[in-house]
């Protein structure tokens, strides 16, 4: 494991370099923003909407004390969604969707000698293939997470509209009460770190593949598992650092 970590660091040294050609990098960046970010918009919106709705219903069922105001539901949904559900849960879902895609794409390039071809041409393959993905995710994931927060809050609002568990007024009052902008900064900081972890770990797993289709599949699985573990670990570290 220590040797793998060493290889990961060495690869990252190759990845984080000035791109070979600015115009090519910019084109790749836009393509990656499209494929890693924009194409994930649907799943992020759906999951966030239901996530917000479920948190709202669960909070509502757990508040049976008449002394606790109904606006607590909105407050709880907001805090849960912004602090944890949007940045962490959505990043875990993206680790599955985006991580497996990156690892299998780069892994297939490795086993079909496309990476060797890049190297022979004099292109730094690690920088050329992984750097645009890392930067694209670090740019687009915060946007996705902000949208996730929005859809999460909308989910809670829809519950108020559709059911009579609590009123829209109580909910809206709750999501606006005692708001501290720092929690957004905290959530986005986590998101950027998670985006780096997902793309760099998945890129690494794909890059070091040896063998054929079976090994590419295994690398894809390892990418998701390790990205998820690192997200959970760094969630703990960053929460302690940023909120304590």
């Amino acid at each position: 494991m220590l040797s793998r970590f060493g290889k990961y660091i060495l690869l990252m040294i190759q990845v984080i370099r000035k791109p070979e050609k600015g115009s090519v990098y910019r084109k790749q960046l836009i393509t990656e923003i499209q494929s890693l970010g924009i194409e994930s918009l649907g799943i992020v919106a759906i999951i966030s909407l239901f996530m917000g709705a479920v948190v709202a219903i669960q909070t509502s069922y757990n508040i049976d004390n008449p002394l606790i105001p109904a606006s607590t539901i909105g407050f709880t949904v907001r805090q849960s969604v912004i602090l944890e559900f949007a940045p962490t849960i959505i990043s875990l879902i993206l680790a599955g969707k985006v991580g497996s895609r990156i690892a299998s794409e780069i892994g297939t390039m490795r086993v079909t000698e496309q990476i060797d071809a890049l190297e022979i041409m004099g292109v730094n393959p690690a920088n050329f293939l992984i750097f645009p993905k890392v930067t694209a995710a670090m740019i687009i994931n915060p946007v996705l997470i902000i949208l996730s927060m929005y859809f999460g809050l909308i989910g809670g609002w829809l519950v108020a509209v559709i059911t009579d568990l609590y009123t829209v007024n109580d909910y809206v009052y709750g999501i606006r009460a005692w708001f501290d902008g720092y929690i957004i900064l905290y959530a986005l900081t986590k998101t950027v770190v998670f985006a780096f972890l997902i793309t760099s770990i998945s890129g690494f797993e794909g890059f070091i593949v040896k063998g054929g289709a079976v090994e590419v599949g295994a690398a894809s699985t390892r990418a998701v598992v390790w990205s998820s573990i690192m997200i959970i670990l760094f969630n703990l570290i960053l929460t302690q650092l940023l909120l304590s």
Binding site: T108, T112, Q114, M121, V123
Partner: protein
């Protein structure tokens, strides 16, 4: 000219190349032959720098490639074209973009100039009008020809071909061999072909290096190889039923 001087390469305890010294000449099609597992692919990968040699040196026209840093090697790498066994075309790019790729990365040519060069290269490999096809839409022979077109797009000084005939029918193999030989002569480049296809050996082998168990076992050319008395080489060359019968008929 490319020269390997006393190169050795091991993977763990397995020594794959043992003290190989060999010279590949300019304007000639230089063949590396040997059985599967003999070390010829490793030798080629050491020559192009995909593997680092444990001992020895690789020279590209007096320039010590093996002693260079990644940055220093970059210049030489832009003088290298390589045809991989499976073609190694970029899946996400069409034929035109694949051939254009080295031009985009390493030249400041305008789009018109690049397209002109792409068409020139495609003409060379007899694939005019294949510009917009994707690698998944190409046959094995077409893939190899596009890979050759990409390899020559930057006017290389050195061309490496790793088993260019693998998976191809005899006719298409012949087409690829002719193409490699024609490019070598026309552009006066140093071409190294890694193969175990005996048709290629007899057809285009200006110089032939036979690798046996990681060692350079025999050197010669296509006229000498059929008459050699080297036991291991004879076993390799006359291993198929067809070549055995040919040898028999020649003796009688």
């Amino acid at each position: 000219m490319i020269q390997a001087l006393n190169i050795s390469k091991s993977f763990g305890d397995n020594q794959v190349l043992k003290d190989i010294t060999v010279k590949f000449e300019k304007g000639k099609t230089n063949l590396i032959i040997g059985q599967s597992g003999s070390g010829k692919t490793v030798l080629m990968k050491c020559l192009v720098g995909l593997y680092e040699v444990d001992e020895g040196h690789v020279y590209f026209d007096e320039r010590d490639f093996s002693a260079m840093s990644f940055k220093e090697r970059k210049k030489i790498r832009q003088e290298i074209g390589m045809l991989f066994q499976g073609g190694a075309l970029f899946d996400s790019l069409n034929v035109e973009e694949n051939i254009m790729f080295p031009l985009t990365m390493f030249t400041n040519q305008s789009l018109e100039e690049k397209i002109e060069r792409v068409n020139f290269c495609l003409e060379w490999v007899n694939l005019e009008n294949a510009n917009k096809l994707y690698p998944a839409e190409l046959s094995g022979g077409m893939t190899k020809r596009v890979a050759i077109a990409r390899a020559i797009s930057l006017n290389p000084e050195y061309l490496f071909c790793d088993e260019p005939n693998s998976g191809l029918d005899p006719h298409t193999s012949g087409v690829i061999d002719d193409l490699i030989s024609r490019i070598t002569e026309e552009f006066q480049i140093t071409t190294i072909v890694n193969t175990h296809d005996m048709n290629s050996v007899i057809k285009i082998g200006d110089t032939i290096s036979f690798i046996y168990k990681g060692q350079l076992w025999w050197e010669g050319d296509k006229t000498q190889i059929l008459d050699t008395d080297n036991k291991e080489l004879n076993e390799f060359v006359f291993d198929t039923e067809l070549t055995k019968r040919l040898k028999k008929s020649k003796i009688h």
